[in-house]
């Protein structure tokens, strides 16, 4: 029920990666919101971009690789998998696209300092955080 009998290392790495990813996106959201109010602070776009590159993307990779490791070691086959697994994988894979687009827009914000780019980084971060919340709720509640 609560992780008993499940492989420790891949599950730990999966959960740890997911939690660090949530933290990184939360930080990026706060940086983007601050960027809307404090347009004179030149380091905010760079801080958001580097947080995405150095923290969020490696955390995503750790979460996704460990997810595949658990999937293989627990003998899931793809047919008849429960809904929570589909939701988790769907959000993880679509999330990479959202993450890469957010990083691209953050780079644009860093280079040009355009307020629109900062707003987009904030909006994309909020959307991704909401998706991640759905994933952790579905996976921990074992939605069927």
């Amino acid at each position: 029920m609560i992780a008993a009998g499940r492989p420790f290392l891949p599950l730990f790495l999966h959960v740890f990666g997911a939690m660090v990813l949530v933290g990184a996106m939360l930080a990026v959201l706060l940086l983007a919101l601050a960027g809307r109010r404090q347009r004179s602070v030149a380091s905010l776009p760079g801080a958001a971009f580097w947080t995405l590159l150095v923290v969020a993307l490696p955390a995503w990779a750790l979460m996704r690789v460990a997810a595949q490791w658990i999937y293989s070691s627990e003998g899931w086959s793809g047919s008849g998998d429960p809904a929570w697994l589909g939701i988790g994988f769907g959000i993880a894979d679509a999330g990479l696209l959202v993450l890469l687009v957010t990083a691209g827009v953050a780079f644009w914000w860093k280079r040009g300092g355009r307020p629109l780019a900062g707003g987009l980084v904030g909006g994309l971060s909020a959307i991704y955080l909401a998706l991640l919340a759905v994933a952790w709720l579905a996976m921990s509640g074992k939605w069927s």
């Binding site: 008993a4 939690m19 949530v22 990184a24 939360l26 602070v41």
Partner: protein, 157 residues
């Protein structure tokens, strides 16, 4: 969904808020140390403030729903992994609070320096890199990490 599944979902949500909030605070704290001007340091440390209720709510939710889950699933309250989790939870909270107070002192100094010309100062640099304050935050992070290991591994369960 069963009661246990609801409780596990809420317990895990608490853990995501606790660890996610702590990671975000760690990122902002790192940015504040690397900032060049006191006004930037102050800004990054101000951004940590909205995370305090997130971390607090997560911390409370992990404890309340965790203990409820132990009762619901008939685990022994005196099992090693549960005692270890409670000790680590208290340690993480106490160390995190001490680290947070240190950051608050750094923010106050940074705000003052920002208002007085916003030039880099050795006093702020020394406060931000103070080994005791830094150690508190790192140890709080370590205790939180060990708490996560304990929750997933469940030694002695």
């Amino acid at each position: 969904m069963s009661t246990a599944q609801w409780l596990l979902m809420l317990h895990v949500t608490g853990a995501f808020l606790l660890v996610g909030g702590s990671v975000a605070a760690g990122v902002l704290n790192t940015l504040s140390i690397r900032a060049e001007r006191p006004s930037e340091t102050a800004l990054y440390l101000r951004l940590v403030r909205p995370l305090i209720p997130v971390i607090g709510l997560g911390s409370l939710a992990t404890l309340v729903f965790g203990l409820w889950l132990v009762h619901e699933l008939h685990f022994a309250f005196w099992s090693f992994w549960i005692i270890a989790a409670l000790v680590l939870w208290a340690l993480a909270g106490a160390l995190g609070s001490a680290g947070g107070k240190h950051q608050e002192r750094a923010r106050e100094l940074a705000e003052r320096l920002a208002a007085q010309g916003d030039t880099p100062a050795d006093a702020l640099r020394a406060l931000l890199r103070d080994p005791r304050g830094t150690a508190m935050s790192w140890l709080a992070g370590l205790a939180t990490l060990l708490l996560l290991v304990d929750m997933i591994w469940k030694p002695g369960a």
